[in-house]
């Protein structure tokens, strides 16, 4: 329950902080130079909403298990993106929590944070589906 609350809070905060400035978030995504230009816009618009949705669904009952699965998918994607950026030596801000996010991708703390989030999401998903 606590784990689920933390997981939900992280995604809700991340979504809320990105929502007001899609242009800054799009520039953040483009800075990674991983996605083609046609994909950057839709992702910058959809991602904050999806993070919010994931957070709220985790707090509710109906689609909680799906919310945990989405959290696994998102945190796995973040971890892979981070690892890729670290390996390439990219020097950009992570944009994890809005355009003014403080963390730089060259800082491995971000990768550890993404992995911790992944572990938390996996644990919540397991509890939702394996315990009674």
């Amino acid at each position: 329950m606590i784990a689920r609350g933390i997981l939900a809070a992280v995604f809700i905060v991340a979504g809320v902080l990105k929502l007001p400035d899609p242009t800054a978030f799009a520039e953040g995504i483009a800075g990674f130079r991983l996605l083609p230009a046609w994909a950057v816009g839709p992702l910058a618009l959809g991602m904050p909403v999806f993070e919010l949705l994931t957070g709220f669904v985790l707090l509710g009952n109906r689609f909680r298990s799906a919310g945990a699965l989405a959290a696994i998918g998102l945190s796995l994607a973040f971890a892979l993106l981070y690892a890729w950026a670290l390996a390439r030596g990219l020097d950009v801000r992570c944009s994890c929590f809005g355009g003014a996010g403080l963390l730089r991708v060259s800082n491995p703390v971000g990768l550890l944070r993404a992995l911790a989030l992944l572990a938390l999401a996996a644990w919540v998903y397991r509890r939702e589906n394996f315990s009674d």
Partner: protein, 155 residues
Amino acid sequence: MTAKNVFRDAAVVAAGFLLSLAVGFAANRLRSDPLPIPYRAPADRPSDEAGLPGVVTLAGAEAAWRAGDTLFIDAREPDFFEDGHVPGAINLPVARTADARTLSGDREKAVIVYCTGADCRDSRTVAQALCAAGHRNVDVFAGGWDEWTRAGLPQ
């Protein structure tokens, strides 16, 4: 826990993602400054204001730097600046654009502003502030620090 559950959850996630895209697009249409789709880097966006800074390429920036008569301004935040910058450049991040007024007495001096690369807009913001402060010879080096370092120029 069955495979069926995973597929059902995955279907819900996919539906949720499509819903999020739809909501995001709908909200974008209501914004006063909608995000262009497909994405365009700040340097490629048409400018709708007059009296704005010009743009220099890597070759132009390098020539100006070698000539030594141009003031380089690094618009990135201080932690990036401290890790390396164009030699002689001064750091003027967006948060301190108010300092643009007090930068230099000589408004005719050539100034080149840069930030991380083509996908950052801080150089344009700072350059516009300089123009607004009365500087008449301001250019943005759109390729920025990325292009400068990739070309193996001094840091």
